[in-house]
Symmetry: C2
Subunit: 370 residues, 2 copies
């Protein structure tokens, strides 16, 4: 695995998801939480790429309201590498902006687009995959996506259909992409999984900055012009004003719809890296080591006849009797209790909180007692 | 119902039970908690007798560490009427002490021994029963106990077997007692309930102060002498020292074992007063009004597909999905979750807390956030 001095990491850390409520809040979304006891998800994202890419070549893109939080959690990053968006516009503008900045800095820049809100269990394999993908991505116009072997017919993800082999590097084979399919229905997803020819789209991409900018220019000319206007203002007195003004005009789009589905040279590198997008408390529970009773426990607790449950507390003692396959998440101002198989319904709780005007429970910090 | 100027109430408020943990704590046991939203159990005990007995004739006996709490919660009581025990010695010494004090004050005193940790739904019927019992109890030597119609074969209570009718007053019939049986096994309890001749011993008694002191003198001569020594010191400079010193020598005994089982003239007044000893969270849940889903809820909450559950919170939001027949009790530093039918096992939790040295969760106040 050789270090490539043109390889940059771009960590997307702008999300504000509510599926890990009550820990995930507007003021502290998922990527800024320590879910595993190993540091926050952002810190993990930074730490796992650090052996491959030094801090000065790591960019983080987030909402401007989280810039201080990012700098606090990843103090090794140069502050200039933390880019705050005035508003989130989806992944296409965020990645486009990073590409525009990097191309100005290094015309041969290769970008690894990484996520701050996924867990990756096999970190060395992950780095080897990024290094291999960076070599493959050095061909102009080529867009590499990391594919995850689907474990079940998930309908909330995008799928990538593998075509012919392109090349094998460091024991990993890269395939041409036949097709991207976003969020298929259950029947289609089941067929995809069954066939063995599909990967989940991990949301992690590797490409040259000029490759993605060329595709944006071809497929999203309006965004391309807006990015060019921002890039042209860099270093001028109107830099901030131009950025703020232009950014507000940008239309929201994902990189998948906006670019990948119509791109000319897309390839996929299927990887087995212990990936988990932690889309629910149940997904996190699956990921963490359980004790003999199958319980994943954090914080003070007394559990009687309790098994296969996830019991999380920040400070408070959790005393439970006869809990089976349950999730308990306790924070300073709110407590969640639900069966493991219904963890997706946490979204409903957050919607009801909105409807009832109980938004303090969505906004607030969770560690009032800390 | 006539008011009797020789009738005194003696409210026993010394308990330190743990079955309502985590709300019930050493610093704030059950009788000092507001479980119903109608005031604390002590306040309810005082308020329900107040229309019959004025404050100056109401005594409260409690541990000396709770004297301030009693005075705070029942400010109408003269401070001299709140008697603090240096240590709990069971109901026989507590009642004996109250009797000794009252006989000095009023040689014709009749005492209604009441409990501060039971709920009574039909308060007017309760007062009518006390008034009737007071008339019956005015016969020297006679000990009246209020009996509760047993709802099921509880093995944790005492049973009173009714004999021949003695008298009917105000529509209520008083029976001679054939026998007291403390905590029978299940088979015996079932037979008792089936027979229709048994009442639960409510722990509420009515008698003349001199009647109970005579029985104590006959059956518990040592205690009798100790009480006499305390009574003799009243008003002397050594009053406090004598009380403290003698009290420590007193042996623990219940009024049931110590006096009732061997007493010469015991009668029972069966009453239907909506009695509930709130021996567990499930017992409390049964008592409180439920909503359409069968839930009893206090504090902020969002409940999805949750029914027949008891959800209590002091401050925190409880969000629950798919809870059925469960109990959730949240306090500042500890949370309890258990199935309704296993509420008795809360005792095990408190035992484990002791074993593990986590006694702060047993001692502490529960409203750190208030």
């Amino acid at each position: 695995m050789h270090r490539n001095e043109h390889l940059y990491a771009v960590i997307l850390a702008g999300g504000g998801g509510t599926r890990l409520w009550p820990r995930s809040r507007k003021a502290h979304p998922k990527q800024f939480l320590d879910l595993t006891g190993d540091g926050t998800m952002l810190q993990e994202a930074y730490t796992r790429i650090a052996p491959l890419i030094p801090a000065e070549r790591v960019l983080v893109i987030t909402n401007e309201s989280y810039v201080d939080l990012v700098c606090e959690q990843a103090p090794a990053l140069p502050r200039a590498n933390v880019i705050g968006e005035p508003v989130g516009r989806g992944t296409a503008p965020a990645i486009g902006l990073a590409a525009a900045l990097l191309r100005q800095r290094d015309p041969n820049a290769i970008m690894a687009i990484l996520t701050a809100d996924h867990l990756i269990g096999r970190k060395e394999t992950f780095r080897r995959a990024i290094a291999a993908a960076a070599q493959v991505a050095n061909t102009p116009g080529r867009l590499v996506t990391l594919g995850i072997t689907p474990a079940y017919p998930e309908t909330g993800y995008g799928y990538v259909e593998r075509g012919p082999e392109l090349v094998t590097l460091d024991g990993m084979t890269v395939y041409r992409v036949l097709r991207f399919t976003e969020k298929p229905n259950h029947e289609t997803a089941a067929r995809f999984v069954e066939s063995g020819h599909f990967s989940w789209n991990s949301g992690m991409f590797i490409w040259r900055a000029d490759s993605i900018l060329d595709e944006i220019a071809r497929q999203m000319p309006e965004l391309s012009a807006q990015l060019a206007a921002i890039a042209a203002s860099l270093g001028r007195p109107d830099e901030q004003a131009t950025y703020a003004q232009v950014w507000m005009q940008i239309r929201s789009e994902t990189i998948d719809f906006g670019v990948m589905e119509g791109a000319r040279d897309t390839v996929v590198l299927p990887v087995d890296i212990g990936w988990n997008d932690v889309g629910s408390w149940a997904a996190l529970a699956d990921e963490l080591p359980a004790n003999e009773q199958g319980n994943v426990v954090q914080g003070p607790h007394i559990l009687l006849d309790t098994h296969d449950s996830f019991v999380f507390s920040e400070h408070r003692l959790i005393a439970a009797i006869g809990l089976h396959h349950m999730i308990v998440v306790d924070t300073a101002d709110a407590l969640l209790i639900c069966p493991r198989e219904r963890a997706q319904e946490v979204k409903k709780i957050t919607e009801m909180l909105k409807e009832r005007g109980m938004t303090a429970y969505l906004e607030g910090a969770t560690s009032r007692e800390a």
